[in-house]
Amino acid sequence: MPVRPTAAFPLLPVLLTTALAATALTACGSGSGSSPDTVKVSFKQSTDNSIKVMDGYLADIKKQFEKKYPGKKVELIPIKAPDSEYYTKVQQMLRSPKTAPDLVYEDTFLINSDITSGYLKPLDPYLAKWPDWKQFIDTAKNAAKGEDGRTYGVPDGTDTRGLWFDKGIFKKAGLPATWQPKSWDDVLSAARAIKKKVPGVTPINVYTGKPAGEAATMQTFEMLLYGTGDGTSDPLYDRASKKWIAGSQGFRDALSFVHTVYREKLGPDVSTALDPNIQTIVAGDLLPKGKLGIALDGSWLPQAWLKGSGHEWHEWSSELGLAPMPTQHGQAPGKVSMSGGWTWAVPAKAGNPDLAFDFIRTMQTKANAEKWYVANSGIAVRKDVASDPAYARAQPGIKFFTDLVASTHYRPAYPAYPKVSTAIQEAMEGVTTGDTSVDEAASGYDDALKDATDDQVVRK
């Protein structure tokens, strides 16, 4: 078959392809260009379709904002993903000015890491001129502070953790409905009493191992670890030398607690404890069905029992009791809690940072902040809201968890933290399955820590 190589014929596809490739590339380049009057707000949308708390709240703020600043527009960009994938998606967006939104919802878990990467913009010039900033409590302000001392985010609430217990099961086990344990031993002996007298229920749940992820590290391990020692210094990270702490007695004691729970079969069956869905099992099945005596868990649990959530449970406030997690031997300050939470931050590559801060200010008026805390079972970080009786009345348990803010700790969420957290989960998993002893697991952690932190380790 003869082919006539005339110039026009073969050139056409080449031109077409070049044009196509060029449009494809420029589309990536200019399509998302910022208009100076639009603020692009990306946020984390719940993976559960029935939960629209954030969507509804932001739609309301958008309306208020567009009314207050005529001519300005808000574009909401929902990112629907579970936590760990949300971080990844946001980090990819923040890398390029073409995709960076003007405002981003950042977990305090990773904010320091993203600050180090240069993804975020310091907000100090804005905060200095914002009278409401004085209302925020100091611990929460510190959560969004970089190692350079500048602040990169405005916290929109926090969370605390404590002991939830089933009053019905406690009654059967002969334990008081006003149970307030004073030490770790008190917690363990209550669990032992339940195991003995109320067969068929799980005495206590503490999250453990890699499948539970950060929940194992924070809800369990750090709740124990920060209750060891004198309660003034950070047992995980030495802020003075900027090094991570290895080989501490507190670390081994916290591991021993986990080991005891699973060795004595006080916790869920190990295979259930290591199910990746354990958090859903606890909140959706064990607690509402009266199959769990004590749960060391977070303030947000009632979110799972709201109307329309699939595990509706109005009676929880009368059927469950709350107690602060005690320190190891009851030493001062007597109770311990960990806090995290989320902040609103402005990406370094944002097109309209000024407008973005105006949006934060609209979200964080006292009335709007209060609306948000109540809607998402969050704990107030604004002093004026925390002391408002209407807020304390809004939901059972909210006063209890807000009071814990006084004795709470924030994680040393520096860039190496996610890897340190994984190393902790691995140590926990070893003692949970019984594959390793407490000492082996602790020394395994010390090795992993060196690796995760580039040898920035100090022995204490």
Partner: protein
Amino acid sequence: MTAALPHPKTADGGPETTGSVPPGPSSGRRTPGAGVRRALLRALPVSPALVLLLLFLAGPIAYCAYIAFTDLQLTGQAHSSFVGLANFRKAFADDEFLNAVWLTLVFTVVSSLLGQNTLGLALAALMQRASKPVRTLTGGVVITAWVLPEVVAGFLLYAFFRREGTLDAILRWLHLPSQNWLFTLPILAVSFANVWRGTAFSMLVYSAALNEIPSEITEAAEVDGAGGWRRLWHITLPMIRRSIGTNLMLNTLQTLSVFGLIWVMTRGGPGNKSQTLPLYMYEQAFQNSMIGYATAVALLLLVVGSLFSLVYLRLLRTEV
């Protein structure tokens, strides 16, 4: 794509080499540049495809290969730098990486070589003899498993294997002890899942291959008194050897990169007991943010895949 490439010999009847060959009837005079020009013109129709391939395939691959030699992180780092072979040294010094390599091999051998391949051949052979309704029904069931999206299949099998799942219910009904299969035998559970999901492909390949065997040969062997096993060993297998090679190669490459199925069923756990290389890579890249290191691991996975492919290609070649 390849079908559209004009074959040099058929394009204008002349050989494709330039310069030294006598000019074709249409070129008239021998000019040094004519051959080159003609070759270039002939390459023109291919160039759009070539540009696209370079842009969207070779480009990213080259970029990945480059990243594998840097310490690029997703977060926690202001600038990345070139680190040479450090990522590869780190991988081979890491127990978790070696564990992942081992599990990947177990998963591939159990689910692909032994499972999908053998079961697919057995099903294809049995279906040759089966009646039409049986054939349709079996084929339908097997292919349904194949058509299901990976994640859906993963959830189905999670429900099957989990504690108090379908398998346990069946065992209890038979008065046998039940257990959590995803916890006690995770790598076998996910291997089984992969067999369940991927056997259809082998079955189709082997059905086609078996249909190609002329019935006279089988009948002749039968007349000569060869039993079922002898026929299989001396006639059927040698005759479908090429299909076996192709099928093994495709299955292996597919199985090496299985991610969704394992992620949904066990997330690589408990511990690292079902963490194959793709899951290890994901953990390093997106949970520990170490993109450079994870890309190095991806390159190593590519090497494992190529090694398998080489072995199979050898198998194919020695036959002729």
